[in-house]
Amino acid sequence: MVSVPPYVKYRREADGGLVYEHENYGYEDATLLRVDGTVVDILEAVESGTTDRAVLEERFSPEAVTVLERRGFLATDD
């Protein structure tokens, strides 16, 4: 099962999207990244209930899910 950590926020923009990650604290330590729209698609899918990793990988790609996991945008529960 995958989830979006509570300290990760995102939104769609005209030319892609933004991911805001503030695990450590507030804005000084936050990371703001400009991302491809696919990243937002994946995060939205997870928050809409697609939390099964296999389903997510099939719908997008295993590589995409892994990249988001490595960046800390997705958390995996055992």
């Binding site: 939104r11 923009e13 933004l18 604290y25 507030g26 804005y27 000084e28 990244l33 400009r34």
Partner: protein, 318 residues
């Protein structure tokens, strides 16, 4: 950025100009009785919060004045955190009674920054007699409740060499340390020559920060570290008016806390809407460069490395 953002990433919201203290270097010139009669009402503030939520603003950083002197402040905090808007409050730490802590303990995501501008003698010389003891007491009670807290220190000529002790004090209460450079804004204009760092102080600060990577700094939004170096590969630009903005106690919107100039007001949240003000603010960035000596950062700099001339000036002691 190729396209203006649909909404700010973060907002600084000064919720009142009222404060129970009257600090010598206050950037907003706040103090007792300084509340303006036309500050946000509770209903107006809640409407603004709802708009922030609808626009998907990631974080609201609240300051003042002292936010907790607003009788409705806890109600506003609940409104923000119930909507899952990350909220960071800068407070002088003197208004945190047990009933207040009872309420904020249950709020999330909420972060506190408590101001402490030196050890007892120097802090109280700037912030008022007895404030140091009140703040240390508040830090202890915040630690007991495990409420995430950072000590917020404006570095001045009076406290720069006490930073190691302030750091230890913060850590002894489970709190982080965040440093702000003293800037000639608000009452800081009157005390600039007295409290600004000289070259030796700047060099000490520079060296000390190099050895303390866990100390946070408020130099700029996202992209500069304490030494003015580009920190990471995120958006390398000043965020004023493009990623962030300031909303003052009466709803006027400016690019940032240090650009509250008449010519840069971008509309009013109460009279119009925050959406309308944000849509206007991108146009104002073009005029920020016309102001010499921005007191915050290099507004609208085209420097690809995102360097900050004003910060360089401070670091070089010119």
């Amino acid at each position: 950025m190729t396209e203006p953002l649909s909404a700010p990433v973060t907002i600084t919201w000064e919720v009142t100009l009222g404060c129970n203290l009257h600090c010598d270097h206050c950037l907003s010139g706040s103090g007792p009785g300084h509340q303006r009669p036309d500050e946000f009402t509770t209903a107006q503030a809640k409407e603004f919060i709802a708009e922030c939520d609808e626009m998907d603003v990631f974080q609201v950083n609240i300051g003042g004045g002292e936010p907790f002197v607003r009788p409705d402040f806890l109600e506003l905090l609940a409104e923000l955190t119930d909507r899952n808007v990350s909220t960071c409050v800068s407070t002088n730490g003197t208004q945190l009674d047990e009933a207040t802590l009872d309420r904020i303990e249950s709020m999330s995501p909420l972060y506190l920054q408590v101001s402490l501008d030196g050890l007892r003698k120097d802090n109280d010389a700037i912030r008022g007699e007895g404030v140091y003891d009140q703040v240390v007491n508040a830090l202890a009670r915040l630690e007991e409740r495990d409420i995430g807290t950072t000590v917020n220190t404006v570095v001045t000529s009076r406290n720069v060499y006490d930073l190691p002790d302030i750091y230890d004090l913060a850590r002894s209460h489970g709190a982080g340390l965040r440093l702000n450079r003293f800037r000639p804004s608000g009452r800081g204009q009157d005390t600039w020559d007295q409290l600004r760092l000289d070259r030796e102080g700047i060099e000490f600060l520079h060296g000390w920060l190099e050895d303390h990577g866990d100390v946070r700094t408020g130099d700029s939004f996202f992209y500069l570290n304490a030494l003015g170096e580009v920190r990471n590969d995120t958006l390398k630009e000043c965020g004023a008016g493009s990623m962030t903005c300031l909303v003052d106690p009466v709803g006027d919107v400016y690019p940032c806390a240090f650009t509250q100039w008449d010519g840069l007001a971008a509309g009013n949240v109460i009279e119009e809407s925050f959406r309308a003000a944000w849509d206007d603010i991108a146009n104002l960035r073009n005029s920020i460069d016309d102001h010499e000596g921005c007191p915050a950062v290099a507004m609208g700099s085209d420097d690809a490395r995102g360097e900050d001339p004003q910060l360089r000036t401070i670091l070089s002691g010119d």
